[in-house]
Protein backbone atom coordinates (compact mmCIF):
# COMPACT_ATOMS: atom_id res chain seq x y z
CA UNK A 1 0.00 0.00 0.00
CA UNK A 2 2.74 2.38 0.98
CA UNK A 3 4.75 1.48 -2.07
CA UNK A 4 1.79 2.30 -4.23
CA UNK A 5 1.43 5.72 -2.65
CA UNK A 6 5.06 6.56 -3.23
CA UNK A 7 4.78 5.47 -6.86
CA UNK A 8 1.78 7.70 -7.45
CA UNK A 9 3.54 10.62 -5.74
CA UNK A 10 6.64 10.21 -7.90
CA UNK A 11 4.45 10.01 -11.02
CA UNK A 12 2.53 13.07 -9.90
CA UNK A 13 5.69 15.07 -9.34
CA UNK A 14 7.01 14.08 -12.77
CA UNK A 15 3.72 15.09 -14.37
CA UNK A 16 3.66 18.47 -12.67
CA UNK A 17 7.26 19.11 -13.75
CA UNK A 18 6.39 18.19 -17.34
CA UNK A 19 3.45 20.53 -17.26
CA UNK A 20 5.64 23.32 -15.88
CA UNK A 21 8.16 22.64 -18.63
CA UNK A 22 5.41 23.02 -21.26
CA UNK A 23 3.81 26.08 -19.72
CA UNK A 24 6.49 28.11 -17.94
CA UNK A 25 7.96 29.77 -21.04
CA UNK A 26 4.52 30.74 -22.30
CA UNK A 27 3.38 32.01 -18.91
CA UNK A 28 6.57 34.02 -18.53
CA UNK A 29 6.17 35.89 -21.81
CA UNK A 30 2.58 36.65 -20.80
CA UNK A 31 3.89 38.06 -17.52
CA UNK A 32 6.68 39.98 -19.25
CA UNK A 33 4.21 41.53 -21.68
CA UNK A 34 2.93 43.51 -18.68
CA UNK A 35 6.40 44.42 -17.42
CA UNK A 36 8.16 47.74 -18.00
CA UNK A 37 11.43 45.89 -18.77
CA UNK A 38 12.28 47.12 -22.25
CA UNK A 39 13.96 43.86 -23.33
CA UNK A 40 10.92 41.91 -22.27
CA UNK A 41 12.95 39.39 -20.32
CA UNK A 42 12.35 40.33 -16.66
CA UNK A 43 9.75 41.69 -14.29
CA UNK A 44 10.13 45.34 -13.34
CA UNK A 45 6.83 47.13 -12.95
CA UNK A 46 3.32 46.63 -14.21
CA UNK A 47 2.40 48.42 -17.42
CA UNK A 48 -0.03 48.35 -20.33
CA UNK A 49 2.16 50.49 -22.54
CA UNK A 50 3.35 47.63 -24.81
CA UNK A 51 -0.24 46.83 -25.70
CA UNK A 52 -0.92 50.48 -26.54
CA UNK A 53 2.23 50.50 -28.59
CA UNK A 54 1.13 47.33 -30.33
CA UNK A 55 -2.16 48.83 -31.41
CA UNK A 56 -0.43 51.89 -32.81
CA UNK A 57 2.00 49.84 -34.82
CA UNK A 58 0.84 49.91 -38.45
CA UNK A 59 2.92 46.88 -39.47
CA UNK A 60 1.38 44.77 -36.72
CA UNK A 61 -2.11 45.97 -37.50
CA UNK A 62 -1.71 45.16 -41.20
CA UNK A 63 -0.31 41.73 -40.42
CA UNK A 64 -3.09 41.04 -37.94
CA UNK A 65 -5.81 41.99 -40.42
CA UNK A 66 -4.15 39.90 -43.13
CA UNK A 67 -3.91 36.89 -40.84
CA UNK A 68 -7.54 37.25 -39.78
CA UNK A 69 -8.77 37.44 -43.38
CA UNK A 70 -6.73 34.40 -44.39
CA UNK A 71 -7.82 32.36 -41.39
CA UNK A 72 -11.44 33.41 -41.89
CA UNK A 73 -11.57 32.36 -45.54
CA UNK A 74 -9.63 29.18 -44.78
CA UNK A 75 -12.01 28.19 -41.99
CA UNK A 76 -15.12 28.67 -44.11
CA UNK A 77 -13.81 26.85 -47.18
CA UNK A 78 -12.05 24.06 -45.28
CA UNK A 79 -15.06 23.36 -43.09
CA UNK A 80 -17.35 23.18 -46.12
CA UNK A 81 -15.00 20.86 -47.97
CA UNK A 82 -14.38 18.88 -44.81
CA UNK A 83 -18.09 18.37 -44.21
CA UNK A 84 -18.99 17.12 -47.68
CA UNK A 85 -15.83 15.00 -47.93
CA UNK A 86 -16.42 13.40 -44.54
CA UNK A 87 -20.02 12.71 -45.55
CA UNK A 88 -18.90 11.10 -48.80
CA UNK A 89 -16.18 9.06 -47.13
CA UNK A 90 -18.59 7.88 -44.48
CA UNK A 91 -21.46 7.03 -46.79
CA UNK A 92 -19.87 5.67 -49.93
CA UNK A 93 -17.95 2.50 -50.52
CA UNK A 94 -15.76 2.24 -53.56
CA UNK A 95 -12.45 0.94 -54.74
CA UNK A 96 -9.59 3.23 -53.83
CA UNK A 97 -11.34 4.68 -50.80
CA UNK A 98 -8.52 3.61 -48.49
CA UNK A 99 -5.97 5.13 -50.82
CA UNK A 100 -7.93 8.37 -50.88
CA UNK A 101 -8.14 8.43 -47.09
CA UNK A 102 -4.39 7.93 -46.81
CA UNK A 103 -3.74 10.61 -49.43
CA UNK A 104 -5.89 13.05 -47.51
CA UNK A 105 -3.72 12.41 -44.48
CA UNK A 106 -0.53 13.32 -46.33
CA UNK A 107 -0.81 17.13 -45.99
CA UNK A 108 -1.37 16.71 -42.26
CA UNK A 109 1.56 14.45 -41.49
CA UNK A 110 4.04 15.82 -44.01
CA UNK A 111 6.58 18.29 -42.68
CA UNK A 112 5.48 21.82 -43.48
CA UNK A 113 8.76 22.46 -45.19
CA UNK A 114 8.08 19.90 -47.93
CA UNK A 115 4.53 21.13 -48.51
CA UNK A 116 5.66 24.75 -48.42
CA UNK A 117 8.56 24.40 -50.82
CA UNK A 118 6.66 22.19 -53.25
CA UNK A 119 3.76 24.66 -53.33
CA UNK A 120 6.15 27.58 -53.80
CA UNK A 121 7.71 25.97 -56.87
CA UNK A 122 4.29 24.94 -58.13
CA UNK A 123 2.83 28.43 -57.77
CA UNK A 124 5.75 30.38 -59.18
CA UNK A 125 7.13 28.08 -61.85
CA UNK A 126 4.10 26.16 -62.98
CA UNK A 127 0.63 27.66 -62.64
CA UNK A 128 1.74 31.24 -61.96
CA UNK A 129 -0.60 32.07 -59.14
CA UNK A 130 0.38 35.44 -57.69
CA UNK A 131 2.10 35.18 -54.32
CA UNK A 132 0.04 36.86 -51.63
CA UNK A 133 -3.54 36.26 -50.63
CA UNK A 134 -4.33 33.69 -53.36
CA UNK A 135 -1.27 31.53 -52.78
CA UNK A 136 -1.50 31.74 -48.98
CA UNK A 137 -5.20 30.92 -48.88
CA UNK A 138 -4.82 27.97 -51.26
CA UNK A 139 -1.91 26.64 -49.21
CA UNK A 140 -3.91 26.98 -46.00
CA UNK A 141 -6.90 25.19 -47.50
CA UNK A 142 -4.58 22.39 -48.62
CA UNK A 143 -3.42 21.60 -45.10
CA UNK A 144 -6.57 22.62 -43.20
CA UNK A 145 -9.33 20.84 -45.11
CA UNK A 146 -7.86 17.35 -44.52
CA UNK A 147 -7.88 18.17 -40.84
CA UNK A 148 -11.52 19.21 -41.05
CA UNK A 149 -12.31 15.96 -42.87
CA UNK A 150 -10.95 13.80 -40.08
CA UNK A 151 -12.38 15.85 -37.22
CA UNK A 152 -15.86 15.75 -38.77
CA UNK A 153 -15.49 12.11 -39.80
CA UNK A 154 -14.75 11.33 -36.16
CA UNK A 155 -18.05 12.92 -35.17
CA UNK A 156 -19.94 11.16 -37.93
CA UNK A 157 -18.76 7.80 -36.66
CA UNK A 158 -20.56 8.54 -33.41
CA UNK A 159 -23.69 9.85 -35.13
CA UNK A 160 -26.91 7.81 -35.07
CA UNK A 161 -27.68 7.51 -38.78
CA UNK A 162 -31.15 6.11 -38.17
CA UNK A 163 -32.16 9.76 -37.67
CA UNK A 164 -31.41 10.38 -41.28
CA UNK A 165 -33.35 7.32 -42.40
CA UNK A 166 -36.26 8.32 -40.19
CA UNK A 167 -36.38 11.80 -41.74
CA UNK A 168 -36.35 10.43 -45.27
CA UNK A 169 -38.94 7.88 -44.29
CA UNK A 170 -41.15 10.70 -43.01
CA UNK A 171 -41.07 12.43 -46.36
CA UNK A 172 -38.00 14.70 -46.22
CA UNK A 173 -35.83 14.72 -49.35
CA UNK A 174 -32.06 14.35 -49.04
CA UNK A 175 -31.54 18.10 -48.99
CA UNK A 176 -34.38 18.72 -46.54
CA UNK A 177 -33.05 15.90 -44.34
CA UNK A 178 -29.67 17.57 -44.21
CA UNK A 179 -31.17 20.95 -43.37
CA UNK A 180 -33.58 19.72 -40.72
CA UNK A 181 -31.83 16.77 -39.10
CA UNK A 182 -28.31 15.80 -40.15
CA UNK A 183 -26.98 19.36 -40.30
CA UNK A 184 -28.20 20.44 -36.87
CA UNK A 185 -26.91 17.20 -35.36
CA UNK A 186 -23.48 17.49 -36.96
CA UNK A 187 -23.24 21.21 -36.21
CA UNK A 188 -21.28 20.82 -32.95
CA UNK A 189 -18.69 18.71 -34.80
CA UNK A 190 -18.53 21.17 -37.65
CA UNK A 191 -18.15 24.07 -35.23
CA UNK A 192 -15.45 22.20 -33.33
CA UNK A 193 -13.53 21.68 -36.52
CA UNK A 194 -13.88 25.37 -37.39
CA UNK A 195 -12.60 26.28 -33.97
CA UNK A 196 -9.59 24.02 -34.33
CA UNK A 197 -8.82 25.13 -37.86
CA UNK A 198 -8.91 28.84 -37.07
CA UNK A 199 -5.81 28.82 -34.85
CA UNK A 200 -4.21 26.17 -37.09
CA UNK A 201 -4.42 28.60 -40.01
CA UNK A 202 -3.86 31.76 -37.98
CA UNK A 203 -0.70 30.38 -36.35
CA UNK A 204 0.85 28.76 -39.38
CA UNK A 205 4.28 30.05 -40.08
CA UNK A 206 6.40 27.66 -42.16
CA UNK A 207 4.11 27.06 -45.13
CA UNK A 208 2.95 30.67 -45.19
CA UNK A 209 6.53 31.89 -45.06
CA UNK A 210 7.30 29.94 -48.23
CA UNK A 211 4.29 30.96 -50.31
CA UNK A 212 3.71 34.50 -49.03
CA UNK A 213 6.10 36.29 -51.35
CA UNK A 214 7.18 39.84 -50.66
CA UNK A 215 4.89 42.25 -48.85
CA UNK A 216 2.30 39.77 -47.62
CA UNK A 217 3.33 39.73 -44.00
CA UNK A 218 1.06 37.70 -41.75
CA UNK A 219 1.30 37.99 -37.99
CA UNK A 220 3.54 34.91 -37.54
CA UNK A 221 5.80 36.16 -40.33
CA UNK A 222 6.00 39.53 -38.60
CA UNK A 223 6.96 37.81 -35.36
CA UNK A 224 9.62 35.79 -37.18
CA UNK A 225 11.07 38.90 -38.81
CA UNK A 226 11.38 40.53 -35.39
CA UNK A 227 13.08 37.48 -33.84
CA UNK A 228 16.52 38.42 -35.08
CA UNK A 229 16.35 41.47 -32.82
CA UNK A 230 15.98 39.14 -29.84
CA UNK A 231 13.14 39.27 -27.37
CA UNK A 232 11.03 42.38 -27.31
CA UNK A 233 8.05 43.36 -25.20
CA UNK A 234 5.97 43.85 -28.36
CA UNK A 235 6.43 40.21 -29.39
CA UNK A 236 5.51 39.25 -25.84
CA UNK A 237 2.21 41.05 -26.25
CA UNK A 238 1.58 39.38 -29.63
CA UNK A 239 2.40 36.02 -28.07
CA UNK A 240 -0.04 36.72 -25.27
CA UNK A 241 -2.75 37.49 -27.82
CA UNK A 242 -1.98 34.25 -29.68
CA UNK A 243 -2.27 32.18 -26.52
CA UNK A 244 -5.46 33.97 -25.50
CA UNK A 245 -6.95 33.22 -28.91
CA UNK A 246 -6.11 29.52 -28.74
CA UNK A 247 -7.40 29.23 -25.20
CA UNK A 248 -10.69 30.87 -26.14
CA UNK A 249 -11.13 28.55 -29.10
CA UNK A 250 -10.29 25.53 -26.97
CA UNK A 251 -12.63 26.55 -24.17
CA UNK A 252 -15.47 27.05 -26.62
CA UNK A 253 -14.78 23.63 -28.09
CA UNK A 254 -14.75 21.96 -24.69
CA UNK A 255 -18.07 23.60 -23.88
CA UNK A 256 -19.55 22.47 -27.20
CA UNK A 257 -18.34 18.95 -26.55
CA UNK A 258 -19.90 18.96 -23.10
CA UNK A 259 -23.17 20.16 -24.56
CA UNK A 260 -23.28 17.43 -27.19
CA UNK A 261 -22.39 14.84 -24.57
CA UNK A 262 -25.29 15.76 -22.34
CA UNK A 263 -27.81 16.05 -25.16
CA UNK A 264 -26.68 13.00 -27.08
Amino acid sequence: MKKKKIASKVLGAMSVLTLIFLWAPVLLIIVFSFSTNKYGVAWDEFTFKWYLKLFHNDAVRDALIRSLIIAGVTVVVSTLIGTITAYGLYKLNFKGKQFLRTSILLPIVFPSIVTGSALLVFFTRFIHIPLGYPSIIIAHIVFCSPLAVFIILGRMQRFDWSWEEAAMDLGATRVRTFIRVTGPQLMPGIMASAMLIFPWSFDDFVITYFVAGVGSTTLPIYVFSQLRFGSTPVINTIGTLFVALTMTGMLLMFLLQKKTKTSG
Partner: protein, 300 residues
Protein backbone atom coordinates in the same frame (compact mmCIF):
# COMPACT_ATOMS: atom_id res chain seq x y z
CA UNK B 1 -38.91 -16.03 -65.38
CA UNK B 2 -35.18 -15.86 -65.76
CA UNK B 3 -35.36 -14.17 -69.10
CA UNK B 4 -37.49 -11.48 -67.53
CA UNK B 5 -35.37 -10.99 -64.47
CA UNK B 6 -31.95 -10.84 -65.95
CA UNK B 7 -32.23 -7.47 -67.66
CA UNK B 8 -33.85 -5.88 -64.63
CA UNK B 9 -30.94 -7.01 -62.50
CA UNK B 10 -28.26 -5.60 -64.73
CA UNK B 11 -30.32 -2.45 -64.97
CA UNK B 12 -30.48 -2.16 -61.21
CA UNK B 13 -26.76 -2.76 -60.97
CA UNK B 14 -26.09 -0.17 -63.65
CA UNK B 15 -28.35 2.30 -61.90
CA UNK B 16 -26.58 1.73 -58.60
CA UNK B 17 -23.22 2.19 -60.25
CA UNK B 18 -24.25 5.40 -61.99
CA UNK B 19 -25.60 6.71 -58.70
CA UNK B 20 -22.33 5.86 -56.92
CA UNK B 21 -20.23 7.64 -59.52
CA UNK B 22 -22.51 10.66 -59.27
CA UNK B 23 -22.26 10.69 -55.50
CA UNK B 24 -18.49 10.30 -55.51
CA UNK B 25 -18.29 13.24 -57.87
CA UNK B 26 -20.63 15.34 -55.77
CA UNK B 27 -19.05 14.72 -52.39
CA UNK B 28 -15.45 13.91 -53.09
CA UNK B 29 -14.39 15.89 -56.14
CA UNK B 30 -13.30 18.99 -54.18
CA UNK B 31 -10.93 17.06 -51.93
CA UNK B 32 -9.67 14.91 -54.80
CA UNK B 33 -9.00 18.10 -56.74
CA UNK B 34 -7.10 19.60 -53.82
CA UNK B 35 -5.05 16.46 -53.24
CA UNK B 36 -4.23 15.89 -56.89
CA UNK B 37 -3.58 19.49 -57.90
CA UNK B 38 -2.02 20.89 -54.75
CA UNK B 39 -0.33 17.87 -53.19
CA UNK B 40 0.52 15.31 -55.85
CA UNK B 41 1.22 17.73 -58.70
CA UNK B 42 3.61 19.96 -56.68
CA UNK B 43 5.45 16.86 -55.48
CA UNK B 44 5.71 15.69 -59.09
CA UNK B 45 6.99 19.11 -60.14
CA UNK B 46 9.74 19.19 -57.55
CA UNK B 47 10.60 15.62 -58.46
CA UNK B 48 11.00 16.86 -62.04
CA UNK B 49 12.97 19.93 -61.00
CA UNK B 50 15.34 17.87 -58.91
CA UNK B 51 16.78 16.48 -62.15
CA UNK B 52 17.45 19.95 -63.61
CA UNK B 53 20.48 22.19 -63.37
CA UNK B 54 20.71 25.51 -61.65
CA UNK B 55 22.19 28.40 -63.60
CA UNK B 56 24.64 30.96 -62.38
CA UNK B 57 22.02 33.45 -61.28
CA UNK B 58 19.68 30.91 -59.70
CA UNK B 59 17.61 30.41 -62.83
CA UNK B 60 16.60 26.91 -63.83
CA UNK B 61 18.41 25.36 -66.73
CA UNK B 62 16.30 22.77 -68.49
CA UNK B 63 18.86 20.06 -68.93
CA UNK B 64 18.79 16.67 -67.32
CA UNK B 65 21.25 15.80 -64.56
CA UNK B 66 21.71 13.40 -61.64
CA UNK B 67 24.07 15.83 -59.97
CA UNK B 68 21.60 17.13 -57.38
CA UNK B 69 20.55 13.68 -56.32
CA UNK B 70 24.18 12.64 -55.99
CA UNK B 71 24.96 15.76 -53.98
CA UNK B 72 22.09 15.08 -51.63
CA UNK B 73 23.12 11.49 -51.01
CA UNK B 74 26.75 12.17 -50.36
CA UNK B 75 29.05 14.19 -48.16
CA UNK B 76 27.82 17.13 -46.17
CA UNK B 77 24.15 16.92 -47.13
CA UNK B 78 23.95 13.21 -46.42
CA UNK B 79 25.44 13.85 -43.00
CA UNK B 80 22.80 16.48 -42.24
CA UNK B 81 20.12 14.00 -43.26
CA UNK B 82 21.47 11.36 -40.92
CA UNK B 83 21.72 13.96 -38.18
CA UNK B 84 18.04 14.83 -38.74
CA UNK B 85 16.99 11.21 -38.48
CA UNK B 86 19.08 10.81 -35.35
CA UNK B 87 17.65 13.96 -33.75
CA UNK B 88 14.11 12.88 -34.64
CA UNK B 89 14.68 9.48 -33.09
CA UNK B 90 16.16 11.02 -29.99
CA UNK B 91 13.23 13.42 -29.71
CA UNK B 92 10.78 10.57 -30.15
CA UNK B 93 12.39 8.49 -27.41
CA UNK B 94 12.59 11.47 -25.04
CA UNK B 95 8.94 12.33 -25.74
CA UNK B 96 7.91 8.76 -24.88
CA UNK B 97 10.02 8.80 -21.71
CA UNK B 98 8.53 12.10 -20.53
CA UNK B 99 5.11 11.66 -22.08
CA UNK B 100 4.17 8.18 -20.88
CA UNK B 101 4.39 8.93 -17.15
CA UNK B 102 2.21 12.03 -17.40
CA UNK B 103 -0.34 10.28 -19.62
CA UNK B 104 -0.42 7.37 -17.17
CA UNK B 105 -0.74 9.70 -14.21
CA UNK B 106 -3.65 11.60 -15.77
CA UNK B 107 -5.48 8.37 -16.63
CA UNK B 108 -5.06 6.77 -13.23
CA UNK B 109 -4.95 9.62 -10.78
CA UNK B 110 -6.46 12.49 -12.76
CA UNK B 111 -9.82 12.10 -11.04
CA UNK B 112 -11.95 15.19 -11.29
CA UNK B 113 -9.00 17.21 -12.60
CA UNK B 114 -8.69 15.01 -15.70
CA UNK B 115 -10.34 17.48 -18.05
CA UNK B 116 -8.17 20.30 -16.76
CA UNK B 117 -5.00 18.23 -17.19
CA UNK B 118 -5.94 17.35 -20.75
CA UNK B 119 -6.87 20.95 -21.47
CA UNK B 120 -3.43 22.00 -20.24
CA UNK B 121 -1.80 19.53 -22.63
CA UNK B 122 -4.02 20.32 -25.62
CA UNK B 123 -3.61 24.09 -25.42
CA UNK B 124 0.17 24.03 -26.00
CA UNK B 125 -0.32 21.56 -28.85
CA UNK B 126 -2.63 24.01 -30.61
CA UNK B 127 -0.88 27.25 -29.57
CA UNK B 128 1.28 29.05 -32.05
CA UNK B 129 4.36 26.92 -32.43
CA UNK B 130 6.44 29.94 -33.38
CA UNK B 131 5.39 31.84 -30.25
CA UNK B 132 6.12 28.86 -28.02
CA UNK B 133 9.61 28.50 -29.48
CA UNK B 134 10.12 32.22 -29.08
CA UNK B 135 9.05 31.94 -25.44
CA UNK B 136 11.51 29.13 -24.78
CA UNK B 137 14.26 31.13 -26.44
CA UNK B 138 13.47 34.09 -24.20
CA UNK B 139 13.97 31.89 -21.16
CA UNK B 140 17.21 30.17 -22.11
CA UNK B 141 18.78 33.17 -23.90
CA UNK B 142 21.90 34.93 -22.66
CA UNK B 143 19.78 37.57 -20.91
CA UNK B 144 17.12 35.02 -20.16
CA UNK B 145 15.56 34.24 -16.86
CA UNK B 146 17.59 31.07 -16.31
CA UNK B 147 20.90 32.84 -16.60
CA UNK B 148 19.54 35.69 -14.49
CA UNK B 149 18.45 33.30 -11.78
CA UNK B 150 21.72 31.38 -11.74
CA UNK B 151 23.71 34.62 -11.57
CA UNK B 152 21.57 36.04 -8.78
CA UNK B 153 22.17 32.86 -6.81
CA UNK B 154 25.90 33.26 -7.52
CA UNK B 155 26.11 29.79 -9.00
CA UNK B 156 27.68 31.29 -12.10
CA UNK B 157 29.35 34.62 -12.54
CA UNK B 158 28.84 34.98 -16.25
CA UNK B 159 25.90 33.98 -18.45
CA UNK B 160 26.36 30.47 -19.78
CA UNK B 161 25.75 29.77 -23.43
CA UNK B 162 22.71 27.54 -23.75
CA UNK B 163 21.42 28.80 -27.11
CA UNK B 164 23.09 27.48 -30.26
CA UNK B 165 24.19 24.24 -28.58
CA UNK B 166 23.05 20.69 -29.40
CA UNK B 167 21.36 20.69 -26.01
CA UNK B 168 19.26 23.72 -26.95
CA UNK B 169 18.13 22.04 -30.17
CA UNK B 170 17.23 18.82 -28.35
CA UNK B 171 15.37 20.82 -25.71
CA UNK B 172 13.53 22.83 -28.35
CA UNK B 173 12.46 19.72 -30.23
CA UNK B 174 11.10 17.98 -27.13
CA UNK B 175 9.41 21.19 -26.02
CA UNK B 176 7.75 21.61 -29.40
CA UNK B 177 6.54 18.04 -29.91
CA UNK B 178 5.94 16.56 -26.45
CA UNK B 179 2.18 17.34 -26.32
CA UNK B 180 1.69 15.38 -29.55
CA UNK B 181 3.06 12.27 -27.85
CA UNK B 182 1.12 12.63 -24.61
CA UNK B 183 -2.32 12.88 -26.19
CA UNK B 184 -2.36 9.61 -28.23
CA UNK B 185 -0.84 7.69 -25.31
CA UNK B 186 -3.47 9.14 -23.02
CA UNK B 187 -6.22 8.17 -25.46
CA UNK B 188 -4.87 4.61 -25.62
CA UNK B 189 -4.59 4.32 -21.83
CA UNK B 190 -8.05 5.74 -21.39
CA UNK B 191 -9.39 3.15 -23.82
CA UNK B 192 -8.03 0.25 -21.76
CA UNK B 193 -10.65 -1.99 -20.28
CA UNK B 194 -10.34 -1.72 -16.50
CA UNK B 195 -11.41 -5.33 -16.02
CA UNK B 196 -8.42 -6.50 -18.07
CA UNK B 197 -6.11 -4.74 -15.63
CA UNK B 198 -8.00 -6.20 -12.70
CA UNK B 199 -7.77 -9.64 -14.28
CA UNK B 200 -3.99 -9.23 -14.61
CA UNK B 201 -3.70 -8.38 -10.92
CA UNK B 202 -6.07 -11.18 -10.03
CA UNK B 203 -3.90 -13.62 -11.95
CA UNK B 204 -0.92 -12.61 -9.88
CA UNK B 205 0.87 -9.90 -11.85
CA UNK B 206 2.70 -7.35 -9.72
CA UNK B 207 2.12 -3.70 -10.72
CA UNK B 208 5.46 -3.58 -12.53
CA UNK B 209 4.97 -6.90 -14.33
CA UNK B 210 1.43 -5.89 -15.16
CA UNK B 211 2.69 -2.68 -16.75
CA UNK B 212 5.14 -4.47 -19.01
CA UNK B 213 3.02 -7.53 -19.80
CA UNK B 214 -0.43 -5.95 -20.19
CA UNK B 215 -0.54 -2.15 -20.24
CA UNK B 216 2.42 -1.46 -22.49
CA UNK B 217 1.47 -3.99 -25.21
CA UNK B 218 -2.12 -2.79 -25.17
CA UNK B 219 -1.11 0.84 -25.64
CA UNK B 220 1.26 0.08 -28.50
CA UNK B 221 -1.21 1.71 -30.90
CA UNK B 222 -1.06 4.97 -28.96
CA UNK B 223 2.73 4.90 -28.95
CA UNK B 224 2.73 4.31 -32.69
CA UNK B 225 0.30 7.18 -33.35
CA UNK B 226 2.32 9.47 -31.12
CA UNK B 227 5.51 8.46 -32.88
CA UNK B 228 4.03 9.29 -36.29
CA UNK B 229 3.01 12.70 -34.99
CA UNK B 230 6.42 13.39 -33.46
CA UNK B 231 8.99 11.63 -35.58
CA UNK B 232 7.83 12.67 -39.05
CA UNK B 233 7.52 16.43 -38.51
CA UNK B 234 10.72 16.40 -36.49
CA UNK B 235 12.77 14.97 -39.36
CA UNK B 236 11.65 17.93 -41.44
CA UNK B 237 12.17 20.53 -38.71
CA UNK B 238 13.52 23.85 -39.76
CA UNK B 239 12.36 26.40 -37.22
CA UNK B 240 13.80 24.67 -34.15
CA UNK B 241 17.35 24.33 -35.56
CA UNK B 242 17.01 27.84 -36.98
CA UNK B 243 16.09 29.41 -33.65
CA UNK B 244 18.03 27.20 -31.24
CA UNK B 245 20.94 26.03 -33.34
CA UNK B 246 21.72 29.16 -35.31
CA UNK B 247 24.00 28.22 -38.14
CA UNK B 248 25.78 25.62 -36.03
CA UNK B 249 23.26 22.80 -35.94
CA UNK B 250 21.48 22.05 -39.20
CA UNK B 251 18.69 19.67 -40.01
CA UNK B 252 17.29 18.52 -43.34
CA UNK B 253 14.60 21.18 -43.19
CA UNK B 254 17.22 23.89 -42.73
CA UNK B 255 18.88 22.83 -45.97
CA UNK B 256 15.64 22.91 -47.91
CA UNK B 257 14.76 26.34 -46.56
CA UNK B 258 18.25 27.61 -47.31
CA UNK B 259 18.21 26.44 -50.93
CA UNK B 260 14.73 27.82 -51.58
CA UNK B 261 14.98 31.16 -49.82
CA UNK B 262 18.50 32.37 -49.20
CA UNK B 263 20.62 30.69 -51.88
CA UNK B 264 17.95 30.22 -54.50
CA UNK B 265 19.11 26.92 -55.95
CA UNK B 266 15.69 25.47 -56.72
CA UNK B 267 16.84 22.21 -58.35
CA UNK B 268 19.06 21.37 -55.39
CA UNK B 269 16.36 22.46 -52.95
CA UNK B 270 13.88 20.30 -54.84
CA UNK B 271 16.07 17.24 -54.62
CA UNK B 272 16.53 17.83 -50.91
CA UNK B 273 12.77 18.15 -50.44
CA UNK B 274 12.15 15.05 -52.56
CA UNK B 275 14.73 13.13 -50.59
CA UNK B 276 13.01 14.19 -47.38
CA UNK B 277 9.57 13.33 -48.75
CA UNK B 278 10.72 9.93 -50.00
CA UNK B 279 12.29 9.05 -46.67
CA UNK B 280 9.12 10.00 -44.84
CA UNK B 281 6.79 8.22 -47.25
CA UNK B 282 8.94 5.13 -46.78
CA UNK B 283 8.70 5.45 -43.02
CA UNK B 284 4.95 6.01 -43.23
CA UNK B 285 4.59 3.00 -45.50
CA UNK B 286 6.51 0.81 -43.07
CA UNK B 287 4.41 2.15 -40.20
CA UNK B 288 1.20 1.34 -42.01
CA UNK B 289 2.48 -2.11 -42.85
CA UNK B 290 3.58 -2.75 -39.31
CA UNK B 291 0.89 -1.03 -37.32
CA UNK B 292 -1.97 -0.90 -39.80
CA UNK B 293 -3.60 2.06 -41.43
CA UNK B 294 -5.54 2.66 -38.25
CA UNK B 295 -2.49 3.91 -36.40
CA UNK B 296 -2.11 6.65 -38.97
CA UNK B 297 -5.71 7.77 -38.81
CA UNK B 298 -5.91 7.48 -35.05
CA UNK B 299 -2.98 9.84 -34.89
CA UNK B 300 -5.15 12.70 -36.05
Amino acid sequence: MHALNKPSMTQAAKRAKRKLVLEITAYLSPIILIIVVFVFAPLAIILFFSFLKSGEYGQIVYSFTFENIRAVLSGGYGKVFLQSLYLALQTNVLCILFGYPIAYYITRYGGKWKTLWIFMIIVPSWSSYLIRLYALKTIIGTNGIINGLLMNLHIISEPIQILYTPFAVALGLVFAWLPFMILPIYAALEGLDRSVLEAATDLGATPVRRFFRVILPLTRGGLLSGSILVFIPTVGEWLVPHIFGGSKIMMAGSLVAQKFTAVGNIPLGSSLAIMLATTLILILYLTIKWGGREALEKAI
